[in-house]
């Protein structure tokens, strides 16, 4: 592609801006995405602390909170509305700027071109635009904190008509909600640019010998994810545009007639809140897989390396991920069982929802079957990969319950769902991010991370995450409704001790994440220098120096001779054969 021409004619960038800020180098852009995700995840985590704290000590003042919002938290005690504002921002930050950005955009950007033997993405300038568009979306979203009414209160799903009618619906539903809509619309465009780049890079820039089936599982996962993101975000974009029109142009796509909010008859008619839910969840369910598929690929990639043997079947893993991507478009209605949707549709959506557990189960069985009898090397990365499987299974099993409308109607508005999606989508994907960070940090920075701190981080996070999210299921079964800032009903009173336990667990588990942050920063500057291939891995990213030079392969085109995971090959010269090693693989008898 053309960047090769550019490389042929120009040297590496020299100015600070070109090198570190407006860089077209996919590695710098990947790190920028990662940094953005780290900022977003810590903001999101602190927001969750504030919410958990308020839930169990509703009258205790948090000194300093009034600086965040004088209206939302007078004298440091947040109002019920401000609780919802923080909830919205927590969800939006985590889903869009962490779970979508970190495993997909950050690690995908950094490692997809190297894993296929390319010098850069197919369109480096698009890539840069894609990051800066994401950054703009982040800034617009953050701006909602600083408008007079504060951030929106309608949750990350922005359910209409609450999100559509304007400031009558409560504080934050004025300018804050408009900013939310614009931010997500901008994010859709950024995601579109990213997907286009990922797909064309994967298809067009593979090194000689890197056939599609020789691509590592992680590359496949990023590729499939970008195919999903290509069309899923395409539906969210018009939805957000129509939402913004409802708010600023007086249309009523999502607002029904005769709606009275805050004692005021809304001057709208003709729309339907269900339309928003349909459009949003049509994107929203594929989004779940946009968050989890890259983690699946990363975890497979890492486990294979730690087990020193390939998965039971490369093809079935890829096929299962494709099946998940395909089915993800057919199941969005299971988020809407209690929305007043046609009950017949609920039945139709329930069936593919149960079917989608089949490829997910196949993946899990392949991981477990491959692990069985293997001599797993216990590194922090492999521990987090095991943690991913554990979280994915624990969170996934409750999905069986929620897939059935009759059970979901009871559970949907309760903490059961909170526990379910935090485990299966949130924590599982975050574990994938952690695993990727510990695994690839040596390549990205040229220094090793501290394994002892990493293992401490893992065990506290693993136990902590279960302490936080497992009790949510019991709360939900007991009927504790979600999205409320206090327990006003008598039946909820006995549940308060459980909430206290969760809050303490959340505060502790959150604090442990600072170990990760310290490890990350310390290792970045003071860590032991990393060799080119610290994990004795086979794929192409380990054939280049740590960190890779600006054109990855030093201006040469690697040639690939093998399937991605040649571990423990009998008769080979070593324990493993690199993908670009011309060594012949002895035929197994």
């Amino acid at each position: 592609m053309s960047q090769e021409a550019a490389i042929a004619h120009h040297g590496p960038p020299t100015s600070f801006l070109r090198k570190h800020v407006f860089s077209v180098d996919h590695k710098v852009i990947g790190k920028q995405y990662f940094a953005l995700a780290i900022v977003a995840v810590f903001i999101g985590m602190i927001l969750s602390w504030l919410m958990r704290f308020h839930l169990v000590w509703p009258n205790a003042a948090l000194p300093g909170l009034q600086w965040l919002s004088k209206v939302g938290a007078p004298a440091g005690v947040m109002t019920p509305e401000y609780y919802l504002s923080l909830l919205t921002m927590h969800g939006t930050l985590m889903v869009f700027f962490v779970l979508t950005n970190a495993p997909f955009a950050a690690f995908g950007n950094y490692f997809l071109p190297i894993q296929i033997g390319a010098e850069d993405m197919a369109f480096p300038r698009f890539n840069m635009m894609s990051f800066w568009t994401t950054f703009a979306a982040f800034v617009v979203l953050m701006a909602a904190f600083f408008v007079p009414d504060g951030p929106p209160i309608s949750g990350w799903t922005a359910y209409a008509p609450l999100s559509a009618v304007g400031s009558d619906a409560g504080p934050g539903q004025g300018l804050g909600q408009t900013l939310w809509g614009l931010s997500i619309a901008i994010f859709c465009i950024a995601s579109l640019l990213g997907s286009l780049n990922f797909i064309s890079t994967t298809l067009d820039l593979r090194a000689k010998g890197m056939t599609l089936m020789r691509m590592p599982v992680s590359t496949w996962a990023w590729f499939i994810t970008s195919c999903i993101a290509l069309l899923a975000f395409a539906v969210l974009l018009p939805a957000c545009l129509l939402l913004v029109l409802d708010r600023i142009a007086g249309t009523s796509f999502f607002i029904p007639a005769g709606l009275v909010i805050s004692d005021r008859l809304q001057p709208h008619s003709g729309g339907s809140p269900l339309l928003w839910q349909h459009l949003f969840w049509f994107f929203g369910h594929p989004e779940v897989y946009i968050a989890i598929l890259p983690a699946m690929g990363i975890v497979s990639h890492i486990l294979i390396n730690s087990m020193r043997r390939p998965l039971l079947s490369h093809k079935v893993v890829i096929g299962s991920m494709m099946a998940i991507g395909f089915l993800s478009y057919m199941v969005w209605g299971h988020h809407m069982f209690v929305s007043g949707m046609n009950p017949f549709s609920a039945l139709v959506f329930s069936f593919p929802t149960l079917v989608i557990t089949i490829p997910a189960t196949v993946l899990t069985l392949i991981w477990l079957g491959s692990l069985y009898g293997s001599r797993l090397q216990i590194t922090t990365a492999s521990l987090f990969s095991l943690g991913f499987i554990s979280m994915f299974v624990s969170g996934g099993v409750s999905g069986f319950f929620l897939a059935q409308p009759s059970i979901d109607i009871y559970l949907h508005a309760t903490y059961f769902v909170v526990g379910h999606f935090h485990l299966v989508m949130g924590v599982a994907a975050i574990f994938g991010i952690f695993a990727a960070t510990y695994f690839w940090f040596p390549k990205m920075s040229g220094r090793m991370m501290n394994e002892t701190l990493g293992k401490i981080h893992f065990w506290f996070t693993f136990v902590g995450a279960y302490c936080i999210f497992m009790p949510f299921h019991y709360l939900g079964l007991a009927g504790n409704v979600r999205r409320t800032s206090s327990f006003v009903y008598d039946y909820a009173q006995p549940l308060i001790p459980v909430h206290k336990f969760i809050t303490i667990a959340a505060l502790c588990t959150g604090a442990v994440q600072f170990i990760f942050l310290i490890n990350l920063l310390y290792s970045r500057f003071k860590g032991a220098p990393a060799p080119d291939n610290p994990w004795n891995a086979t794929s192409l990213e380990w054939t280049v120096p740590s960190p890779p030079p600006w054109n990855n392969f030093g201006g040469k085109h690697p040639v690939v001779y093998h399937d991605p995971y040649q571990y423990g090959v009998e008769g080979a010269s070593g324990d493993f054969i690199m993908q670009n090693s011309p060594e012949k693989v002895p035929v197994r008898s």
């Binding site: 069309l231 539906v235 339907s272 339309l275 478009y329 046609n342 017949f344």
Partner: protein
Amino acid sequence: MNAAEKSNGMAATYVVYVVILAQAVFQVVFAFEMGPSLVLMMMIGVLQGSLAVLYFMHLGQERPSLVLALIPYTIFVLFMLNMIWSDSFRLLHMRPH
């Protein structure tokens, strides 16, 4: 590039141009005379669109794998969106009057 190079001459393009315009005229005349029928209008639209994709955008001259990668996926996603209709029809009857 290679695909378009294969198309020597523009004769087919002019024919398709005329056919698409003729369809547009027929569509309008039919709508005036018989009233707009959604099914027929959409059929003509799909026909016009297919002609444009095949002869203006030369998709027919690309590798079949490209067609298989793009078109069934798009149609599948648009097809799935049809699940929303059952709710929009119900709204009419649930409407408070």
